[in-house]
C-alpha cells in the first residue's frame, strides 16, 4: 500500500510540473483541428519529458529489478492527444531510456509495454478523433490507462525471465500502477481541459470586446477617418479594451488620442515615434513589449507609457494610418497583446473600406446625376440654338461651324462620369463650349488659352474642366456688367501639373450648402483618382478675379 502512496506522491510532482507548464507562455491551446507537425513535436517533447521523469520518480522494487513507475501516463496522454505515431514514439523514447539508463530484469518488458500503451492510446485517439469533446475527457484517460496498465502487467509476465521473477515483479508493481496511474492520467487530462476552457473564455471575452468596439465604431467610421471621428474612436477603443491609452494617426499626424499622456500626445502633432514610422513603412504590426523593447516617448521625457502595439490601418492595401494601444510602465502587458492590436486594426480597416466603398458609390451616383443634368442643360442648349439661328441670318458658314461645336460638346457630354480623359480631350470639350459662349456673348467675352503642350497627355477624371468653366460663366462673367475675360492655363509647378481657370469677375464666395456641389464633386473625383494631395483650390480677389486651380500629378498616369 505504501508503494501506491509513493507512486501517488510521484504523480503529484508530475501534476505540479504539468500545471506549471500549462500556465507558462509556452502552452499553446490545442486547436480544434488536431495538432499540426510543429505542435506534434512540442507534444512529443513535453510528454517524453513526463514519461522519462516517470522513470526517475519511480520506486525500485524486487531488489532493483523493477520500478513502480508512472511512465505510462506520458505515453498514454501523448497517444490520446497526438495519435498512434506520437504515442508510439513517446513510449519508445521512455522505454529506451528505461533500458539504457536504469537497469533491472524487468526493464525490457517495461519498455515494450509502455510503447504498446502509447500505441493503444493512439488507437483510441483514432477511434474518437471525430468527437474531440468525448476524447478529451478524464474518463477516457482513466479507462485507457487502466486497460494499458493491465496489459503492461501481461507483457511483463510474458517477457520477463524467469517467470518467478516476473510474477514477483507484477505482484509488487501491479496493484499500485493499475490503481494510481489511471487516476493520475485522469487528473492530467482534467488540468489540461481546465486550462483549455480558460483560454476559450479569454478568447470569448476578447471577441466580445472586439465586437463591442465594432458595434460602436461602425457608425463613426462611416464618415471615414478625420479629426473628430479619430478622437471619438480612440476613446471607444480605450473604454472597450481597458488599455492605458489609445492613439489614432493618419500617415503623418496624430489624429486622436485618449488616455494616459493625452496632455502631451496632442491631435495634430506630427508622428515622431520610430515604431509608428516602421509600422507605416512596412505595413506590419509593430510591438514593443516594454521588456525587450520599450516605447520611449519622443514628446515628453516624463511620459509613463512604456509598451505599445502599433497596427496599420489599411484601405485597398495602402496604409492610411495606424491605431496604437499603449500601457504605462506599471501595467505593461496587463490588457494588451499583439493579437488584440492586429484584430482591432483588421476590424477598423474593413470598416474604413466599407466607408470608402459607400462614399465612392454615392459619389458615382451623384456625378451620374450631375452629369445627366449637364447633358441636358436647357438654358445652354436653347440659348445656343437661338444664337445660331440669329447668326444663320447673316453668316451661314459661321452658323454651320457653331452647330459642329454644339454637336462636339454634346457628344463629349455623353461620356460616363467614371471615365478618365486626357487634358487634350478635356480642352476639346471645353473648347467647343467656349466657342458657343463666345458667340452668345459676342463682343463681351475674350478667352485666352495658355497650355504647356507637354501636358496634353496627362489624365484626369472626365468632366473635370467643363463644370469649372461653366461655373466661371454662370457665377462669374455673366454676373458682372463689365466685359468678361477668361484664361485657361496648364503648366508644371513643384512636381505637379496645374490646370487653372481664371475669370475677371471675382464673385466667388464660400459656397453655401448645395451651391458648390459641382466643384466639390470635381475635387472628390480627382482625389479619388490620385489621392489626397491632389484636387481643387480657389483663389479669389473680390471684383478682380477668381482662379480655380486643379492640381494633378505631372505624370498623370492613372492607376
Amino acid at each position: 500500500m505504501s508503494l501506491a502512496l509513493q507512486l501517488v506522491e510521484a504523480l503529484s510532482v508530475f501534476l505540479v510540473i504539468f500545471y506549471l507548464y500549462c500556465r507558462s507562455p509556452a502552452f499553446r491551446p490545442l486547436k480544434p483541428d488536431w495538432p499540426q507537425p510543429r505542435g506534434k513535436v512540442r507534444l512529443y517533447l513535453v510528454f517524453s519529458g513526463i514519461a522519462v521523469l516517470g522513470n526517475y520518480l519511480g520506486v525500485p522494487v524486487v531488489e532493483g529489478q523493477a520500478i513502480v513507475n508512472a511512465r505510462a501516463v506520458g505515453s498514454i496522454l501523448a497517444g490520446l492527444l497526438g495519435g498512434p505515431v506520437l504515442g508510439l514514439l513517446v513510449g519508445a523514447t521512455a522505454g529506451v531510456h528505461r533500458v539504457t539508463a536504469l537497469s533491472g530484469s524487468a526493464a525490457l518488458s517495461g519498455a515494450v509495454a509502455t510503447t504498446l500503451e502509447g500505441l493503444m492510446a493512439g488507437v483510441v485517439h483514432l477511434a474518437l478523433k471525430r468527437r474531440p469533446e468525448r476524447l478529451m475527457t478524464p474518463r477516457v484517460a482513466l479507462v485507457t490507462t487502466f486497460v494499458g496498465e493491465v496489459a503492461h502487467m501481461g507483457v511483463v509476465l510474458l517477457l520477463t525471465h524467469p517467470f518467478d521473477q516476473a510474477l514477483a515483479v507484477v505482484k509488487a508493481i501491479g496493484p499500485p500502477m493499475i490503481v494510481a496511474n489511471p487516476i493520475g492520467a485522469a487528473l492530467f487530462m482534467a488540468v489540461l481541459l481546465e486550462r483549455q476552457r480558460e483560454m476559450d473564455r479569454v478568447a470569448a471575452a476578447s471577441s466580445t470586446r472586439a465586437l463591442k468596439v465594432a458595434e460602436r465604431t461602425l457608425r463613426l467610421l462611416a464618415r471615414g477617418i478625420g479629426r473628430e471621428s479619430a478622437g471619438e474612436l480612440a476613446a471607444i477603443v480605450m473604454a472597450e479594451t481597458g488599455v492605458g491609452a489609445v492613439a489614432v494617426t493618419d500617415t503623418e499626424r496624430v489624429l486622436g488620442f485618449a488616455g494616459t499622456g493625452s496632455d502631451h500626445h496632442l491631435p495634430g502633432n506630427p508622428i515622431s515615434s520610430p515604431y509608428t514610422r516602421q509600422a507605416i513603412a512596412e505595413n506590419s504590426v509593430v510591438f514593443a513589449d516594454g521588456v525587450r523593447q520599450t516605447y520611449d516617448c519622443t514628446v515628453s521625457p516624463a511620459c509613463v507609457l512604456n509598451s505599445v502595439v502599433i497596427a496599420p490601418l489599411q484601405v485597398d492595401g495602402a496604409v492610411v494610418g495606424t491605431v496604437q494601444l499603449f500601457e504605462p510602465r506599471d501595467r505593461r502587458f496587463l490588457n494588451m497583446n499583439r493579437s488584440l492590436g492586429e484584430g482591432l486594426a483588421a476590424l477598423l480597416s474593413s470598416q474604413l473600406l466599407i466607408a470608402r466603398y459607400q462614399e465612392q458609390k454615392s459619389l458615382l451616383v451623384m456625378s451620374e446625376l450631375k452629369l445627366a443634368q449637364a447633358q441636358v442643360n436647357p438654358h445652354f442648349l436653347f440659348n445656343a440654338l437661338n444664337t445660331i439661328i440669329a447668326i444663320l441670318r447673316r453668316d451661314a458658314d459661321r452658323a454651320r461651324e457653331l452647330l459642329i461645336h454644339l454637336s462636339t460638346f454634346f457628344r463629349k457630354n455623353l461620356k460616363r462620369s467614371s471615365d478618365v480623359s486626357t487634358l487634350e480631350e478635356e480642352l476639346a470639350h471645353v473648347g467647343a463650349y467656349l466657342e458657343i459662349e463666345k458667340a452668345r456673348f459676342e463682343g463681351r467675352l475674350t478667352v485666352e488659352t495658355d497650355v504647356d503642350p507637354a501636358l496634353l497627355r496627362i489624365r484626369m477624371p472626365s468632366f473635370t474642366l467643363q463644370p469649372l468653366v461653366e461655373n466661371a460663366f454662370k457665377h462669374g462673367l455673366s454676373a458682372v456688367l463689365a466685359d468678361g475675360r477668361a484664361i485657361i492655363r496648364a503648366y508644371r509647378a513643384d512636381g505637379a501639373a496645374l490646370v487653372e481657370i481664371e475669370d475677371n469677375a471675382g464673385t466667388w464666395a464660400e459656397p453655401a450648402e448645395n451651391a458648390g456641389l459641382g466643384m466639390q464633386l470635381v475635387d472628390k473625383r480627382v482625389k479619388n483618382l490620385y489621392g489626397e494631395s491632389y484636387g481643387l483650390s480657389v483663389t479669389c480677389v473680390p471684383h478682380e478675379m477668381t482662379r480655380v486651380t486643379v492640381r494633378l500629378p505631372a505624370e498623370g498616369a492613372a492607376p
Binding site: F382, N383, N386, T387, A390, R440, R444, S478, L481, A482
Partner: protein, 234 residues
C-alpha cells in the same frame, strides 16, 4: 408699336429685332444689353412694349421691373430660353412669355394679344421685389450700391443722386421708386433718408434737420416731419 428689346446677348437682340420688324407691327425703338441701359431707354424712348430677357448680368429682368415706376412701364413680354420662370413672369403681370428660339407663328400671337390688350399700364399693383442694390453710374462704369451704405438720396434738376458716406453717385431710379421699394424715407420733396444711418434730428424752430452718422445734413420739410417723428417714436 414701338418696342424696346433688352437682352444681354448681341445675337439674341439682333434676331428678335429682325423678327419684330418682319411682322410689320413693330418699330424697334432701342436695343439694350443690360438693365441699367434699359432703365434709361424706358424713360427716354417711352416704348409701347418691352421685350425683356430674364437672366441678365447683375440685375435680372424681374429686378429691372421693380426698379421702374409702374407709370413708366409699358406692356412687358418676357423672352427667355427656358420655361422655369413662367409662373413668376405672370405674377409680374407680363402680357406674354416667349421661349427662345422664337418662332414667327408664336410671335404673331403675341402681336394679336398686344393689339387686343391695353397698350400699357392697367396692371394690378402687385407687391414687387424690394430693391437691395441701387444701380448707379460711376464715370463710365455701373456700380451696384447696397441700400445699407446709402445715407440719403437727393433729387435736383441734374437728376437723382445717391449720397454715400464718401461721395455721391448718379442713378436713373426715381425718388418715388426708391421710397416705395428700397425702404428709404421721404423727409423733403427732394430728399430721401436712410433711417438706419441717421445720427440725430435737430428740431430747431423753423427748419428741422436730420444729421447722418457721416455728418451730412438733410432738410426736413414741415409736411414730412410728423411722419419722420413717427418713425423715431418722438
Amino acid at each position: 408699336m414701338r418696342a424696346l428689346i433688352v437682352d444681354d446677348e448681341l445675337h439674341a437682340r439682333e434676331e428678335l429685332a429682325s423678327l419684330l420688324e418682319e411682322t410689320g407691327a413693330f418699330a424697334v425703338a432701342g436695343k439694350c444689353g443690360n438693365a441699367v441701359e434699359a432703365i434709361q431707354a424706358l424713360r427716354k424712348e417711352r416704348p409701347d412694349v418691352l421685350f425683356l430677357d430674364i437672366q441678365m448680368p447683375a440685375i435680372s429682368g424681374f429686378e429691372l421691373l421693380s426698379m421702374v415706376d409702374d407709370a413708366d412701364l409699358p406692356a412687358v413680354v418676357f423672352v427667355t430660353a427656358h420655361d422655369e420662370f413662367a409662373i413668376r413672369a405672370f405674377e409680374a403681370s407680363a402680357l406674354d412669355y416667349l421661349l427662345k428660339p422664337v418662332a414667327k407663328e408664336r410671335l404673331a400671337r403675341t402681336v394679336e394679344r398686344l393689339q387686343r390688350g391695353p397698350a400699357s399700364g392697367g396692371r394690378p399693383g402687385l407687391p414687387r421685389t424690394p430693391i437691395r442694390r441701387i444701380p448707379c453710374l460711376a464715370g463710365r462704369s455701373i456700380k451696384l450700391v447696397d441700400v445699407a451704405e446709402v445715407d440719403l438720396v437727393r433729387s435736383s434738376e441734374a437728376g437723382v443722386y445717391v449720397v454715400l458716406a464718401k461721395g455721391e453717385l448718379y442713378t436713373d431710379l426715381t425718388l418715388k421708386v426708391l421710397e416705395e421699394r428700397a425702404g428709404l424715407v421721404r423727409c423733403h420733396k427732394q430728399f430721401l433718408v436712410n433711417l438706419d444711418n441717421v445720427d440725430e434730428i435737430d428740431l430747431e424752430e423753423g427748419q428741422a434737420v436730420v444729421r447722418t452718422r457721416s455728418g451730412k445734413e438733410v432738410p426736413v420739410s414741415r409736411r414730412f416731419l410728423p411722419k419722420l417723428r413717427d418713425h423715431f417714436h418722438i
